[in-house]
């Protein structure tokens, strides 16, 4: 990869250790993707905010680097472990976790990020014009940006997006270039798919598609289904982009029908009943909260239900009073965190969780260590409310 004189001197450490670290990361990811140069990006979205995922090493690294350097472009950040406004309601979270999470939050703020703590930056900010280069870690957001937002990003890692935030640059490679090839078409064979079906389709697509896939047989899914698709796809593989199209001439075609769906479902659904319900991974958007509020009219949850949305979306939903019906029905609205890897769900207190999120299901089972009952939202409301 060719570097400008200025970039080379930063790589050599002439502009400080923090910037050198950032350039070392860009060079490795540039080599990994055969980039010929670095190009400017105008928005970075970072993962690596939850103490549960980055641990003591991550906390220490961020504390150190944030003393020396600030972000150079607009930077949004992923969810933390929990919602500081509601932490007193969860007494199993120890003080050490709370302190470390505070430190991580403060380090990011010191670096000058927007304190969004959300995995759905596309639900918070208007997207820049089509073709804009951005650098999104958080796989669902990268896939959403590329496929539905018309932006250009690779499926960045926590460190490559951080390096982009600190330098304002990313290697010019893969999805940042003009043409996307779609070597594989997945033929959607399920009729009237709900958001869970789309999540499962995404998980399947991530397994069978390397880089990008065409999905045929789908007519304009709603935003909830699109987000579920992005979430599922980002969890299972490396696929970073899709398009909905029926008239493709790609060589390879593969069906996603009942049989394929059931296979993925059986891999992720490990029980038929949860002790509590979670909605949101990806975090719910405004429309989803509005829908939920309508679905819950006159009903009440029969067990604990955690509803995750970003702080910005929660504020909007409160002013539009979508939250009234949800909270009356017993739903707990939590911000700055999400189903995936939140310590709010703990194996000492919970054996199994009911959710409609395929991404959530994967991390609940594999990282949190609880069983998962996967159901579409309509079925959750039917079975779990009175």
């Amino acid at each position: 990869m060719e570097l400008t004189k200025e970039e080379q001197s930063a790589l050599n450490g002439e502009k400080g250790e923090a910037l050198q670290t950032a350039y070392r990361i860009l060079v490795a990811t540039g080599e990994a993707t055969n980039a010929e140069k670095l190009v400017p990006v105008n928005w970075a979205h970072l993962s690596g905010v939850n103490y549960n995922t980055i641990g003591d090493s991550g906390e220490e690294f961020l504390r150190k680097i944030s003393q020396d350097i600030k972000v150079r472009v607009k930077t949004t950040v992923n969810p933390m472990g929990f919602d500081f406004d509601h932490i007193s309601e969860f007494d199993h979270i120890d003080d050490d976790f709370i302190e470390k999470q505070k430190s991580i939050r403060d380090s990011y703020i010191r670096m000058g990020v927007e304190p969004t703590f959300s995995c759905t930056p596309y639900d918070i900010y208007d997207l820049p014009e089509k073709g804009t280069q951005v650098s999104f870690a958080e796989s669902n957001a990268a896939i959403f940006a590329n496929s539905l937002g018309g932006l250009k990003t690779n499926k960045e890692s926590a460190f490559s997006a951080l390096a982009s935030a600190l330098t304002g640059k990313s290697p010019y490679s893969d999805f940042r270039k003009d043409e996307t090839n779609y070597p594989l078409t997945i033929r959607m064979k399920l009729e009237n798919p709900n958001e869970l079906d789309f999540g499962l389709l995404g998980f399947f697509a991530g397994k069978v598609g390397d880089t990008s896939v065409t999905i045929s047989g789908v007519s304009e899914p709603d935003r909830r289904s699109c987000k579920a698709l992005c979430g599922g796809m980002g969890t299972s593989g490396t696929c970073a982009k899709f398009q909905f199209r029926d008239d493709t001439e790609t060589s390879e075609k593969i069906d996603f029908g009942k049989e394929e769906m059931n296979k993925i479902y059986d891999e992720l659904n490990t029980t038929d009943k949860g002790d509590l319900i979670t909605l949101g991974s990806p975090q719910l958007g405004l429309q989803e909260l509005s829908d939920l509020s309508n679905m819950l009219k006159g009903k009440s949850f029969q067990k604990r239900c955690m509803i995750f949305c970003s702080r910005a979306v929660q504020h909007q939903a409160r002013s539009l009073e979508y939250t009234n019906e949800i909270e009356r029905a017993g739903g707990e609205i939590l911000s700055d965190c999400c189903t995936c890897l939140t310590p709010l769900i703990d194996t000492n207190e919970t054996d199994a969780v009911t959710t409609n999120s395929v991404k959530g299901a994967y991390y609940l089972k594999n990282s949190t260590g609880v069983d998962v009952n996967l159901k579409p939202l309509s079925k959750i409301i039917e079975d779990e409310t009175k």
């Binding site: 990361i25 490795a28 995922t53 796989s139 960045e156 890692s157 926590a158 460190f159 997006a161 969890t235």
Partner: protein, 127 residues
């Protein structure tokens, strides 16, 4: 064809899997043990191995897992993949773990459990 992503030297025993690795979801960042039973190296530790696997998958935070493994002295001493994904490349860059990309033929020829030597400067893998 060998491509160097992160420079360095390593000498050790190969731990090989044909499963792509989700570092965040499948690896214990304290011990380096694989705790997802769908992997053919389930319950094995990647600590101090030369880890040979196709590529990384899943969460972008896996880069922090690699960095944590290194700080917890449970990291592989080198990684060999057939495809360099950004999570593994950036994790290895920050953790200073030598990493190379090899062809599928070379990948197939590397045997699990064998002691090998890796030197990115001379671009060699010695059995």
């Amino acid at each position: 064809m060998t491509k160097v992503i992160v420079q360095g030297k390593a000498k050790g025993t190969v731990l090989k899997t044909t499963n792509p690795i989700n570092f965040l979801g499948a690896v214990d960042k304290k011990t380096g043990i694989i705790h997802d039973q769908k992997y053919d190296i389930f319950e094995k530790s990647i600590k101090n191995s030369i880890l040979v696997f196709p590529h990384g998958i899943g969460s972008s935070v896996g880069a922090y897992t690699i960095f944590s493994l290194k700080n917890n002295e449970s990291a592989p001493i080198a990684m060999i993949c057939t495809k360099a994904d950004l999570t593994v490349a950036s994790g290895c860059a920050l953790a200073n773990i030598p990493m190379i990309v090899v062809s599928h033929e070379q990948f197939d020829s590397i045997e699990n459990g064998k002691d090998i030597e890796l030197d990115t400067e001379s671009a060699t893998i010695l059995n």
